[in-house]
């Protein structure tokens, strides 16, 4: 799947996250999280897993997380990618 335009999903509520994706030449992941210190590696691993499964190799992925669990990260990222994937 290719990111062809900006896409966004999620909220800024506690236990949720906001995902933004936009086209870029390479894959860049920017993680902002209230629990970055403790869980950045796990969040990144989850994001990379979903990106790999969707076949995304390039794009700017930004997340603003407030302690979301894995399934929320997965769902929000998938939704943002689908919105960014064109028709």
């Amino acid at each position: 799947m290719k990111i062809v335009k900006k896409g966004q999903a999620g909220t800024m509520q506690s236990s949720d996250l906001m995902v933004t994706v936009e086209p870029a030449d390479e894959l860049v992941i920017d993680i902002q999280s209230t629990v970055k210190k403790q869980f950045e590696h796990l969040i990144r691993a989850k994001l990379e897993e979903v990106l790999a499964r969707c076949g995304v190799t390039a794009g700017k992925i930004g997340i603003s997380d407030r302690g979301a669990l894995d399934y929320a990260i997965e769902a929000r990222l998938e939704a943002a990618l689908q919105r960014a994937g064109g028709e």
Binding site: Q8, Q32, T34, S64, R66
Partner: protein, 338 residues
């Protein structure tokens, strides 16, 4: 339920909530949202460009989901409007509430804290740092509306006192000469000085975010707070990234606001390891050189007298066809004042 407040009644209710929370209501905003619980307005907040303002939550609803819901709506709308970074002014005691929403503190000044959402500052610094040099570094920040011999003199003097001089041109487009014109005239005007690097100030020095009242030219307590915030952002975030230890400013005999900004820098910057160096303005036979004088002369259509005030690079532009719309605007302004 979250709703955009469009009606007079919704905004009036929000105004009452905002004022009860100890904030002042300001009319100019792009949109305002309210959060309703059982028909009662319990939280409100607004956005003006890339600045969030007047966020207020009823005490009984604080610490819950209200703020997150409000900021989600404001952020979505800001993104749609093309803003990647957002700023908020708040009281320092509320800064942590916004840090919990992944806002980052840029500076706190005692009464007011400035926070940013999105990685704007770091992205900008990373972009600029490619130009960074080793050695003794200084900085000047200029609006240059337009670039004059006075600016040129300040840059020359400052550049002779440091190894590298970073010249930040104010990006905020609230001046009669647009940013790209001001930037090009500065670049052309200092091209022969080897150790000057001209940079875009982005949103982080004298901008609508750090120092909005600069453009209103009002000297009041709010302006003073903003000056200190602006100087603090410079001293704590920008100067260290470039190794800047001196900030050069022109003496300000006329404009109280710019004079006040110089004073604020002298209060704040030395404590942060940046010396403030004032450079005396140059005079010509008809007085001090200033960009406002240049604009006046254009307004009176006395282009032949500009030579004394601006370098050849600026003069060539001011008398060119490309500058005709700006000349016309200034002349209309002068006409209106007569």
């Amino acid at each position: 339920m979250i709703a955009e407040l469009l009606s007079g009644r919704g905004v009036l209710e929000a105004r009452s909530l905002i004022e009860r929370s100890g904030l002042s209501f300001e009319a100019g905003f792009d949109e305002m949202f309210g959060l309703y619980e059982a028909g009662q307005l319990v939280a409100a907040g607004a956005r003006a460009g890339n600045i969030l303002k007047m966020l207020a939550v009823e005490p009984a609803y604080q610490g819950g989901a209200a703020l997150g819901e409000l900021v989600t709506s404001l952020l979505n709308r800001a993104r749609t409007a093309g803003h990647e970074s957002l700023f908020i002014y708040t009281k320092p005691e509320y800064a942590t509430s916004f840090e919990a929403l992944n806002f980052r503190l840029l500076a706190s000044q005692g009464k007011v804290a400035l926070l940013e959402y999105g990685g704007g500052l770091n992205a900008w610094l990373a972009g600029c740092r490619r130009a960074a040099q080793d050695g003794l570094a200084g900085a000047v920040v200029m609006n240059c509306n337009p670039f004059t011999n006075g600016h040129r003199y300040l840059v020359e003097t400052a550049a002779s006192l440091v190894d590298t001089l970073y010249l930040f041109v104010v990006r905020e487009d609230r001046s009669i000469f647009p940013f790209d014109v001001r930037f090009k005239l500065v670049e052309a005007g200092v091209r022969d000085i080897d150790n000057v690097i001209v940079l875009d100030s982005s949103s982080y020095i004298v901008s609508g975010a750090t120092f909005p009242t600069y453009f209103l030219k009002q000297d009041d307590p709010v302006a003073r707070i903003q000056m200190e915030l602006d100087a603090t952002v410079f001293g704590t975030r920008i100067a260290p990234a470039f190794g800047i230890t001196r900030r050069f400013v022109g003496t300000e005999p006329c404009c109280p606001l710019t004079g006040g900004y110089n004073e604020a820098m002298k209060r704040i910057l030395p404590g942060l390891g940046v010396e403030v160096v004032e450079v005396e303005r140059i005079q010509v036979s008809s007085g001090v050189i200033s960009a406002s004088r240049v604009r006046e002369l254009i307004g009176m259509n006395e282009l032949s007298r500009l030579e004394e005030f601006v370098p050849p690079t600026t003069l060539a532009y001011l008398t060119s066809d490309a500058a005709a719309p700006i000349r016309k605007k200034l002349q209309m302004k002068t006409g209106a004042n007569l």
